[in-house]
């Protein structure tokens, strides 16, 4: 028993000679973070005022932008587009938008307009084609925000009718691409080589 106690005491003594592995703490990082955590240097008077001033500027800017947005919406609401004058006979249900657009556009160089239900996600199924005659001056037209998908036509402009419908204006035939060709946006992205450019130049000169 006494022997065991002595062995344990010796063991403790030997264990005490072992040192833990060196600390791997990054002291610079620790003091930096500790300084931040303790708030040292955080409440510098001038800095505080500056940040408050910047905050006020930012708040004012945000308020102005919000006001402008509301004014814009108000103007739009006060000037709704009257779509009552649209003749139903001019509307043609588009069963196959690509095919119809091709056929129509091959005869008519003017733009085709597809009206679709604003709530509908599937434009091709719930859309109509109109001739350009139906486009009135009070229809607001602006450039489209979406990219054409492969196999569809370039939708360059979008039109809001104000009655919950949206019209998409496709460009005249010269902007249409064959269905089996590469998507136009892919071609656009691809930069032309010097040789291609020179060939184009030569062709146009001839």
């Amino acid at each position: 028993m006494e022997n065991e106690e002595q062995i344990i005491n010796e063991l403790v003594e030997e264990l005490g000679k072992l040192s833990p592995s060196q600390s791997q703490i990054n002291r610079d990082d620790l003091f930096y973070r500790a300084g931040k955590a303790s708030g040292a240097g955080k409440v510098s008077g001038i800095k505080h005022v500056q940040s408050k001033k910047q905050l006020r500027i930012w708040q004012s800017y945000s308020a102005v932008m919000t006001l402008c947005t509301f004014i814009g919406f108000g103007w739009i609401m006060q000037n709704p587009v009257n779509s009552e004058n649209l003749k139903p006979s001019e509307l043609m249900v588009e069963k196959n938008s690509e095919k119809n657009s091709l056929e129509n556009n091959s005869d008519k160089p003017e733009a085709n307009i597809i009206f679709s239900d604003e709530n509908s996600n599937v434009r091709s199924e719930n859309s109509f084609i109109l001739s350009e005659d139906s486009v009135r001056s009070d229809h607001r037209i602006h450039y489209s925000r979406f990219k054409p998908k492969p196999g569809t036509y370039l939708a360059l402009r979008e039109m809001y009718l104000g009655d919950g419908r949206t019209g998409i204006i496709f460009d005249p035939p010269q902007f249409q691409e064959p269905v089996d060709s590469k998507p136009a946006y892919e071609e656009e992205r691809k930069p032309k080589t010097y040789r291609e450019l020179m060939e184009e130049l030569m062709d146009s000169t001839i």
Partner: protein, 165 residues
């Protein structure tokens, strides 16, 4: 009570960082991160804790156990899992014991015994302090210490005696 100053943090780091990391390595693979977080926590204190060393050990213990809970893989059982990623001790030619063997021995004794041994021998904490940190009584802590040493002696027996001879 004094406030927590960089000087105090620096002194505590110099004296206890490696020991705290050894204490944390029982539960965590990244003891340095846990100890660092504990020191940052100390820096946040309005007043220096009454016993800053004990306070640090308690914070390190809580964080290391939480770390183990969140990082423990399914294969490794909670009671047997200990860090294998870095050495626990520096090799000391003057010691009769092999550092790696001691680390392995410590890893193979019950957790509560290992914790008390590490905190008492290398952390320099009293059994009262250990009891306060671990939520036991000082007599229980002392009992764990004694039984842990016996277990360790049995585990180190071969190498220990061989080296002595």
């Amino acid at each position: 009570m004094s406030s927590v100053t960089p000087t105090i943090i620096s002194r505590l780091l110099d004296e206890h960082a490696d020991r705290l990391e050894l204490y944390a390595i029982q539960w965590s693979d990244s003891p340095e991160d846990i100890v660092q977080e504990a020191f940052i926590e100390l820096a946040k204190q309005e007043q220096l804790p009454r016993q800053p060393v004990s306070w640090l050990y308690r914070v390190v213990r809580n964080r290391a156990i939480n770390w183990r809970r969140s990082h423990q893989s399914r294969k490794k059982h909670e009671s047997t899992y200990v860090s294998q990623t870095r050495a626990w001790f520096e090799e000391n030619p003057g010691s009769q014991l092999d550092a790696q063997t001691v680390a392995e021995g410590l890893q193979n004794i019950p957790e509560e015994e290992r914790e008390v041994i590490v905190a008492h021998i290398w952390g320099g904490l009293t059994f009262e302090q250990i009891a306060e940190i671990t939520g036991t009584t000082s007599s229980t802590a002392h009992r764990y210490y004694q039984s842990g040493l016996k277990s360790l002696k049995n585990l180190l027996d071969l190498s220990w005696k061989t080296k002595n001879k």
